[in-house]
């Protein structure tokens, strides 16, 4: 989906990041795993990335991330996402350097950040929003919360489409989003944001009516067409993830 002809850098970056995190179904062993296993994998990689404190740890962390990414045939997407995260990484590096005056520790923190981005991105790249919703339900989170979360993800492409149309409409009426200094540019967004918010409010009102019309809230315990079921492959994956995590953490902590 294109934002608009000659979109401004900020919108383009947001668009690329959203596209980068978007779930795309592929017939890989990682995609087919139970979403709870994928969540465990993500959390494990997240902790490993957070615990890495030297160049060897970082190398092991990225190897650990790249193995499932490779199995999920998502290495290229992951690397593209990391490239787009470089600007923010540079910011983290500079801030760290200002406070620590250490090139080494600033570099470690920055690479650690990239490890965290890569590990969490893996989850969203390989887990459909549908599966995310099932996981939230499995955690027995309140139904309203899960539904609000799922709906907000479901409507991201719809709102992006609204945004595109509003930007195009306002541009055709002479609005120049990329003209002027930072303050002027922020003010330029007002004619885009007001119709976007109004549209979203109208949409949410119709959404609420549609929910009522389809019996939302009719019963305390709504059922579900599908439920999560672990297979042998899932159990095996859990065993591999936990063993690998234990091994890596003991290496990081110099236990072995």
């Amino acid at each position: 989906m294109m934002l608009s002809h000659g979109s401004e850098g900020g919108y383009e970056l947001a668009h690329v990041l959203l596209e980068g995190l978007k779930f795309r179904y592929q017939r890989t062993i990682v995609h087919r795993l139970d979403p709870r296993v994928k969540l465990l994998l993500t959390l494990t990689l997240f902790v490993i990335a957070l615990m890495s404190s030297n160049i060897y740890d970082e190398a092991l962390t990225f190897t650990a991330i790249l193995i499932p990414a490779s199995l999920a045939k998502s290495i290229r997407r992951l690397l593209r996402l990391l490239v787009y995260s470089l600007a923010f990484s540079a910011f983290i590096f500079i801030i760290n350097y200002i406070f620590t005056h250490s090139l080494f520790s600033s570099s470690i923190v920055t690479v650690r950040f990239l490890g965290i981005v890569a590990s969490t991105s893996m989850f969203f790249m390989t887990t459909s929003p549908d599966e995310v919703e099932y996981v939230l339900r499995w955690f027995r989170l309140p139904r309203d919360f899960v539904f609000a979360f799922a709906t907000s993800i479901r409507f991201v492409p719809v709102l992006m489409m609204d945004l595109t149309q509003i930007i195009d409409a306002q541009k055709s009426r002479g609005l120049e989003l990329d003209k002027g200094g930072p303050i002027k540019r922020i003010r330029n967004l007002v004619p885009v944001l007001i119709p976007l918010v109004v549209n979203a409010l109208v949409r949410s009102s119709e959404l609420a009516e549609a929910m009522e019309a389809r019996g939302y809230g009719a019963t305390e315990k709504p059922t579900s067409m599908y439920s999560l079921k672990m297979t042998k492959v899932d159990y095996l994956a859990v065993a591999i993830i936990l063993t690998a995590a234990a091994l890596l953490l003991s290496l990081f902590l110099h236990v072995v």
Partner: protein
């Protein structure tokens, strides 16, 4: 004689905070297994009438409620909205705003899940609804990948899966191209015939749907402006007063002097027959 499935009895409603009633003195009924076309300009009260049928008025939208609305013999004011949801399927103008889930089959299942059906039964009913609407091949697809016409079918499947007696369609063709709009109209007619549904259809474009309607109810400024069989209603000269344009085929008959005894031809074949008879060709 078939019984009334939806009935308005001297119904008036004023939204909370408003001084003027949105609708007043509404009296009409829709017979079981028929198609009723509800038409009127913007602000004529169509949305208020629809909200009164599915119970959003008065259960969600507060205000001054007078008279009664009955759905399948039950007073709407005394019935919870989720109970009405079992009886009434609702298709909104923009299908995008009533598709909640990430796959087509899960969205179709949404209503049944809310009503607490067993998973096995849900799967069976969802398969049936998808097949009925010819979208079984879309079951695993994401709604965001579908065309407007396909989304409309998904939304309709999501309503029909709950096995309603009545289906209410709020301008279902307004966002569709002419060919897809025509397909939706035929689909509605088929569903009415095969499932014995009562259909209430809101539509501006009279030429598109008047041929399949058993009854037309025209609203104007919150009141029933005209009510009757389509050929009788469309033969009237004052439809423009209700902000409606006359379908071209009716306008042509009026100009050719083919309108007699307050009735008009609703389709091309009927029109040609009248034309041949009138001019003895």
């Amino acid at each position: 004689m078939s019984r009334a499935t939806v009935e308005f009895r001297d119904f008036s409603f004023t939204y909370a905070g408003m001084k003027i009633p949105a609708v007043r003195g509404i009296n009409f009924s829709v017979e079981e297994g028929s198609i009723a076309l509800l038409a009127g300009a913007s602000g004529s009260g169509k949305s208020t009438i629809l909200r009164s049928i599915n119970g959003l008025i008065p259960h969600i939208y507060p205000g001054e409620y007078k008279g009664d609305v009955f759905v399948d013999g039950q007073s709407v004011i005394e019935t919870e909205t989720f109970e009405l949801a079992r009886k009434i399927g609702f298709l909104f103008q923009n299908p995008e705003n009533q598709i909640f889930m990430f796959t087509v089959e899960r969205d179709v299942a949404f209503g049944l899940e809310n009503l607490g059906y067993e998973p096995k039964e849900i799967k069976k009913k969802v398969e049936w609804a998808l097949k009925l609407l010819g979208i079984s091949d879309l079951a695993k697809r994401s709604p965001s990948e579908l065309s407007d016409g396909q989304k409309q079918r998904v939304a309709l499947a999501g309503s029909l899966v709950m096995d309603p007696k009545i289906i209410v369609l709020d301008e279902p063709t307004s966002l569709l191209d002419p060919k897809t709009a025509q397909e939706v109209v035929h689909l509605v007619e088929d569903l009415k015939r095969t499932l014995g549904l009562t259909v209430i259809l809101v539509e501006h474009r009279l030429e598109l749907v008047s041929a399949i309607a058993d009854k037309i109810i025209i609203l104007n400024k919150g009141e029933v402006f005209a009510e009757g069989k389509p050929d009788q209603i469309l033969a009237k000269d004052n439809l423009h007063e209700a902000g409606l344009s006359i379908p071209p085929i009716i306008e042509l008959q009026k100009r050719l002097g083919l309108v007699d005894s307050d009735a008009v031809a609703m389709d091309v074949d009927d029109f040609l027959q009248r034309f041949v008879q009138k001019w003895q060709l």
